[in-house]
């Protein structure tokens, strides 16, 4: 992200402009009073981190399309609007959020407009497993937990040159915390639910997942909305996997259609660990997801799949970077986009093999389906290889539905519309099938069916 660009055109009342003009005051312990009730787990560490991040926020600029990383994603709309952080605790009841809950989930942490909602959440403090919010004092909070949090929080997600990550780090008031002790396996998925309920609100959701050696868990990171007006979600997630840990990460972004969603996710893999992720982007007016996976030790493995399903005037941007820093790493990536209306999908998938990272095996595929003539796609699969004994491939395609496939289905008695919708659904289903949580998978499939118009066409029953 270049810092050389100046932005004279921004109106002074824009939320980001105000922040970046230096009005972001470094957080002091007292400023947390409103949101961080009770005793903070590690206030000095958090404060130091937040002061450092706030400094970066005032040093950096809002990226524009002149920056290579943001070339196809114009966020000037976001910079013009003004947003207010929400501090009040939510009055939502369980019934209000019932449709978002996941039946299989064990622990659930719910944040409404960035504020932790204990009455909607279900924390877990079992043997070897901690699922809780950072600000909330934990019963059995041990000194070594504080140390662990300080070791990882803000250390994985780079904020020095990333204005949104810096903003999140500086402004976060709480975080979802998952700590897995050595060799613990959590069978039930852990649900992190972030709900946006206020128009014009801004929230800074934050997740920290540390999986000790040999542990195993499935984490669902879920962004939903109860209203359709503009608001801004700026989130950062950090995953740290120790040797042979295995984390399944399902990320669902179903924000309101006028929302702005900017997310950074950083994953660090130790020896032999395995990170498997499926991210689905359906909502938001403008969304951007940066996923950086660092294979920091030998034999790391990651599977990074994604689906963007957008229509109308939506823009969904996915930037992934898989950094093979050490030998014998494996990475697999399948990213798909279904673009309707006059929507715009952006994909930038970088695979990097550092000097000496021999025997890396990497595969990346990006497939884009254009449903209308006003739909746009910009894709850039990118390889940077500095080691000779590697196997790296990538492929990308852009097209519409195949005429012959439609004809085949029509010859079987399906109408043109049903044939098209069925093929569109099948295109997206390849990714959804990889979601390991059955009820969530079903929910998302329903959404795709609705979007593809298959529900009305009666095919749903046929299925």
């Amino acid at each position: 992200m270049s810092v050389a660009v100046t932005h004279q055109t921004q109106p002074a009342n824009g939320y980001l402009a105000t922040l970046l003009a230096g009005h972001l005051s470094a957080p002091s312990p007292t400023s947390h009073k409103g949101t961080m009730r009770g005793q903070c787990i590690a206030p000095p560490v958090l404060t130091a981190l937040q002061v450092a991040a706030a400094e970066r926020v005032s040093a950096l600029n809002v990226p524009s399309t002149r920056d290579e990383e943001w070339r196809f994603t114009d966020i000037s709309l976001l910079t013009k609007l003004s947003f207010q952080p929400v501090v009040a605790e939510s009055t939502l009841q369980l019934a209000d959020i019932a449709r978002f809950t996941i039946a299989e989930a064990g622990a659930r942490l719910v944040f409404v407009d960035g504020v932790y909602a204990p009455h909607l959440s279900h924390t877990e403090q079992a043997e070897g497993v901690t699922v809780a919010n950072l600000a909330h004092p934990l019963e059995k909070s041990a000194a070594h937990t504080d140390v662990r949090i300080a070791t990882y929080l803000g250390q994985l997600a780079e904020y020095k040159n990333n204005v949104f990550a810096a903003l999140n780090t500086a402004c976060m008031s709480d975080a979802a915390l998952i700590l897995l002790a050595r060799d613990t396996a959590v069978r039930q998925p852990i649900h992190l639910l972030f709900i946006a309920s206020k128009q014009g609100g801004v929230s800074y959701p934050r997740c920290l997942i540390r999986a000790e050696a040999g542990s195993k868990a499935t984490v669902v990171e879920d962004y939903v909305s109860l209203q359709d007006e503009a608001y801004f979600t700026n989130t950062v997630s950090e995953f740290s996997l120790a040797d042979n840990a295995h984390v399944h990460h399902v990320r669902v972004q179903r924000e309101g259609m006028n929302a702005f969603h900017i997310a950074n996710c950083a994953v660090t893999l130790a020896r032999g660990s395995h990170y498997q992720s499926v991210s689905v982007a359906m909502g938001a007016r403008i969304s951007r997801y940066n996923l950086n996976v660092l294979q920091a030790a030998e034999g790391g493995e990651c599977t990074v799949d994604g689906l963007a399903l957008i229509s109308e005037r939506q823009l969904a941007d996915t930037h992934t970077c898989i950094d093979h820093a050490k030998p014998h790493g494996i990475s697999r990536q399948l990213h798909k986009c279904i673009i309707g209306g006059s929507a715009h999908a952006v994909f930038n998938g970088k695979v990097m093999v550092r000097p000496g990272a021999q025997r890396v095996d990497s595969q990346q595929t990006n497939r884009n389906l254009l449903l209308t003539n006003r739909a746009q796609v910009d894709t850039k699969p990118q390889l940077e290889i500095f080691a000779d004994d590697v196997k790296c491939t990538h492929g990308a395609t852009v097209s519409q539905l195949d005429g012959e496939e439609i004809f085949y289905l029509q010859s079987r008695g399906l109408t043109d519309v049903v044939a098209r919708n069925l093929l569109t659904y099948a295109f997206g289903a390849e990714i959804l099938e990889r979601i390991p949580v059955a009820s969530l998978k079903h929910q998302l499939e329903q959404t795709v069916l609705e979007q593809a118009g298959l529900k009305q066409s009666g095919l749903e029953q046929m299925k």
């Binding site: 196809f72 746009q376 390889l383 492929g395 990308a396």
Partner: protein, 478 residues
């Protein structure tokens, strides 16, 4: 570092050229007067001077591009002399006087004997009369109505054509190096194929024998009228030594209705020594415009030389059903850097493009493919297929791929695939099993890797390119 560069820029031409035949070299530096002086020395018409000045004004406002994946010390544009009258080569009396290193290269490449002499600057009157051959060629071309001459000649003889097309494909302010070239270009080639004419010979052959030192700012313009077709080969497989640090050429191709242009390049500029000292910066803008319906432009390039290559031969597919092709082999060794690829801009309906790029990096070199496939909303039924494969030899080299795909029309079909690999141990074992030594095996594997591109070259160049590759990579394996 910049002191080193200064040295290189200031070095006198060492390889068989003498400057005292015509010591008409302009003082170093670049300003408006330099351009006026170039223009007046070449006795150019006013419109061309205006064109140059306009380009110079645009260049002054531009910034040197830094987005390419190449690193070099800053170039001092005031330390270059922008005009030297055509230098005459001092003719050597026999092959004995030629640098043995050069002879050895010719031997390895299998360049025909008479061409070796011409290339090495030996007087060839007795064995091979290049002048008469030239005349014969010229007569045959004239008969067909083909105009093929130097750019300065064309400016005087065919001003209407030059004026009509110059700068139409690569506009004035296109990019930093193109603008610089447009302001200060000294010479280059001009080629015009009239309506319905199929050029009676590959212009390659002609051009190769008459390899001239046309300077570091070359300008080439090729126009194929309706239904015309031409094959053009630029460059030469023999190593071209030059003291010039910066080469910023511009090539423009225009294909009208049903016309076809095939442009092949074999580039083997001086790449610097094994420590990466010296060598040419090859910053070239090449672009073709498929202006008419059913027109076709095909670029084939074999890039083996130059310390730094920055080159993206592109095709603008404006006419309906037009076709653009790009076939490339880029080899880098030692400390060479190449950032090369293509741009295919689809505007017309049913336009098609194919990209095949093969990159081989050995030693400490870095090889990047950078490409753009753009489908405009108007490009109904456009089709693109891209394939870029990289091969790495040795653990200190790097291979990079930066393909951009921008699609604005749903009926378009765009495919891109890329792979990176090395020569497999099992492949080597298979060859060893059949009694083929490592060097020959590597050479065969690499030639197989590049086959798709070599097939696009005229036969004799394909043979030479094959040899050139083995020569370039000699000693880098095993």
């Amino acid at each position: 570092m910049s002191a080193v560069l200064q040295n290189i820029i200031n070095q006198p031409y060492k390889h068989g050229f003498v400057t005292d035949i015509e010591s008409d070299v302009m003082a170093k530096g670049l300003d408006e007067n330099t351009i006026r002086m170039i223009s007046s020395k070449k006795n150019e018409p006013a419109w061309l001077l205006d064109f140059r000045l306009k380009c110079y004004a645009a260049w002054l406002k531009m910034e040197e591009p830094t987005w390419a994946n190449v690193h070099h010390p800053k170039i001092d544009y005031q330390a270059i002399s922008y005009y030297a009258a055509p230098k005459k080569k001092a003719k050597l009396k026999s092959m004995d006087e030629v640098d043995p290193e050069l002879l050895r290269t010719f031997e390895k490449l299998g360049v025909p004997l008479h061409e070796r002499m011409a290339l090495a600057g030996v007087a060839v009157d007795v064995i091979f009369d290049s002048v008469s051959v030239t005349t014969t060629y010229k007569a045959r071309l004239a008969e067909a109505g083909v105009i093929f001459c130097s750019m300065s000649e064309a400016v005087h003889e065919h001003p209407e054509l030059v004026q009509k097309y110059l700068g139409t494909v690569v506009p004035t302010g296109d990019n930093f190096y193109a603008a610089l070239n447009s302001a200060v270009f000294t010479d280059g080639s001009f080629c015009y194929i009239p309506k319905g004419v199929k050029c009676p010979m590959d212009l390659s052959t002609y051009f190769r024998i008459n390899t001239e030192e046309s300077g570091q700012f070359e300008r080439t313009l090729i126009i194929a009228e309706e239904g015309a077709s031409v094959t053009y080969l630029e460059g030469c497989t023999a190593p071209a030594f030059s003291s010039n640090q910066l080469h910023a050429a511009v090539v423009e191709l225009v294909a009208l209705d049903n016309a076809e242009i095939k442009y092949s390049t074999v580039q083997n500029w001086y790449a610097g020594d094994e420590n990466g000292i010296g060598g040419i910066y090859n910053f070239v803008t090449k672009r073709g415009l498929c202006k008419g319906v059913n027109s076709r432009i095909s670029w084939t390039q074999v890039e083996t030389g130059a310390a730094i290559t920055w080159k993206y031969p592109s095709v603008v597919l404006l006419g309906d059903n037009s076709v653009g092709e790009f076939y490339s082999v880029a080899v880098t060794n030692n400390y060479q850097q190449a950032d090369t690829g293509t741009k295919m801009i689809h505007i017309g309906k049913n336009t098609r493009s194919t990209i095949v790029s093969k990159g081989i990096s050995a030693g400490h070199s870095n090889n990047s493919y950078r490409g753009l496939v753009k489908i405009s909303p108007t490009a109904e039924g456009a089709r693109n297929y891209s394939q870029c494969d990289s091969m790495l030899i040795g653990e200190h080299s790097g291979a990079h791929t930066f393909p951009y795909m921008q699609v604005r029309n749903k009926s378009a079909k765009v495919e891109h695939e890329a792979s990176t690999s090395k020569i497999g141990e099992d492949q080597m074992f298979y060859f060893a099993q059949r009694g083929i030594d490592a060097e020959a095996a590597v050479s065969m594997i690499i030639n197989g890797f590049c086959k798709d591109v070599f097939q696009q070259l005229p036969l004799e160049f394909a043979v030479e390119a094959t040899n050139l590759l083995s020569y370039k990579l000699e000693g880098s394996v095993g």
